[in-house]
Amino acid sequence: MDDKLVNSVRSTVFKDSDSLEGTCTRIEGYDFNQGVNYSRLLKSMLSTGFQASNFGEAVEIVNEMLDWRLSDEPIAEDSSEEEKDPTYRESVRSKVFLGFTSNLISSGVRDTGRYLTEHHMVDVIVTTTGGIEEDLIKCLAPTYKGDFSLPGAQLRSRGLNRIGNLLVPNDNYCKFEDWIIPIFDQMLKEQHEENVLWTPSKLIARLGREINNGNSYLYWAYKNNIPVFCPGLTDGSLGDMLYFHSFRNPGLIIDVVQDIRAMNGEAVHASPRKTGMIILGGGLPKHHICNANMMRNGADYAVYINTAQEYDGSDSGARPDEAVSWGKIRGSAKTVKVHCDATIAFPLLVAETFASRSKNFVA
């Protein structure tokens, strides 16, 4: 063979590669010869690749968000005297927005959420209506495990409602109705007699107070003054109850305008705190939190955990980088999307982050 040709082919096929050593993490999974050590197993995900690595990054980002203090930043020129005080700066932490869809509250993730509100580990919650009622109903009667394949018509005739592979008996909703209607009556009375103007978040806080049950995340949110926003309050069983109540005892007014002021205010007035978003699922909670953060030119940390895809242009499937184009997340922010069902990823995430730092959250 021609030497020149050989050399030319050799230089094409055996192109020198960049060295990744030192700049990139080596891929290495967990070694079970160490025994079954769950903590090390979870930490090994960062170097396992694919969504395990994204999960590992999510843990890093959340921990960075939880560990940040204003004292980590250089003192800004326009800081007030208070803001310059070192003790004050040590005390200023990130503001955490937590969003999740209703199905997660039907699932056991509700109990993870309860842990977070119980210890005031998050600052603002956004969810859909089911995320409110399913938590309250579980205090009145339980949800059961079923199967995705149970036939709908049979379940209907047995008075069972299917949520994925979970089952909620009709009777649970009847108990909810019996519990909530007198509360609405009382709220209407207060509206007339004490000029209370109810909003979704005020209503939710009231329900958290009324349920008075330590298993409910809404109870702890009420106790710890964590606002829970639900602009789509009418879209669920709660909405059905409002509908029926409007016939029996009309006049209850629920104002969404006050709540959008409050929600956006949480973001706008957060400074000098950094803001972080942990969003489970898509839909309304995802967008509502991102939109509020747009008002302060973007969040500093964002972790998405959902199974939606971006190819249909939906907001649910949009990656954090799309939000950067809107100013909902800062260009300098630390972000990751974990493509995983939150029932798997979220409890594990909390184990490696909030729960590992529980001492930081003593009131």
Binding site: N161, N170, Y173, C174, E177, D178, S237, M241, F247, R248
Partner: protein, 159 residues
């Protein structure tokens, strides 16, 4: 207490109560129901089965029998609703006064003068024209929950 009952005056003859309770799930179309304290004729009933919205419920659309207004209500099907006692009595028309009251002849030969002319234009015209024309008219008076109104008219005169 029984002494006081002797002095009790009621317009309706059908006893002391103006309504009686009936389970919502048993009230049918063309029956009667009280909605927002008004006696209504039921024109539509639909039931939603027990589900996410709680107990099974009956959705009633009723027409106020005196004003013709449409009223709606939703009631759990196991709850009791009030059903009005609705009575129709026929009286012979004796006279129409200038201020819009009618004079009616009761069965016992007394006159009943406390009823106004109906507000329905059609019926009003028929009564006025018929009376002016010297016809023998019998009016049907519907009564429920303490209210009365002329609801129909018959010409019983010679052909």
């Amino acid at each position: 207490m029984s002494d006081e009952e002797h002095h009790f005056e009621s317009k309706a003859d059908a006893g002391a109560s103006k309504t009686y309770p009936q389970q919502a799930g048993t009230i049918r179309k063309n029956g009667y129901i009280v909605i927002k304290n008004r006696p209504c004729k039921v024109v539509e009933v639909s039931t939603s089965k027990t589900g996410k919205h709680g107990h099974a419920k009956c959705h009633f659309v009723g027409i106020d029998i005196f004003t013709g207004k449409k009223l709606e209500d939703i009631v759990p099907s196991s709850h009791n609703c009030d059903v009005p006692h609705v009575n129709r009595t026929d009286y012979q028309l004796i006279d129409i006064s200038e201020d819009g009251f009618v004079s009616l002849l009761t069965d016992s030969g007394d006159t009943k003068d406390d009823l106004r002319l109906p507000t329905d234009d059609n019926l009003l015209k028929q009564i006025k024209d018929g009376f002016a024309g010297g016809k023998d008219l019998v009016v049907s008076v519907m009564s429920a929950m303490g209210e009365e109104q002329i609801c129909a008219l018959k010409d019983i005169g010679p052909k």
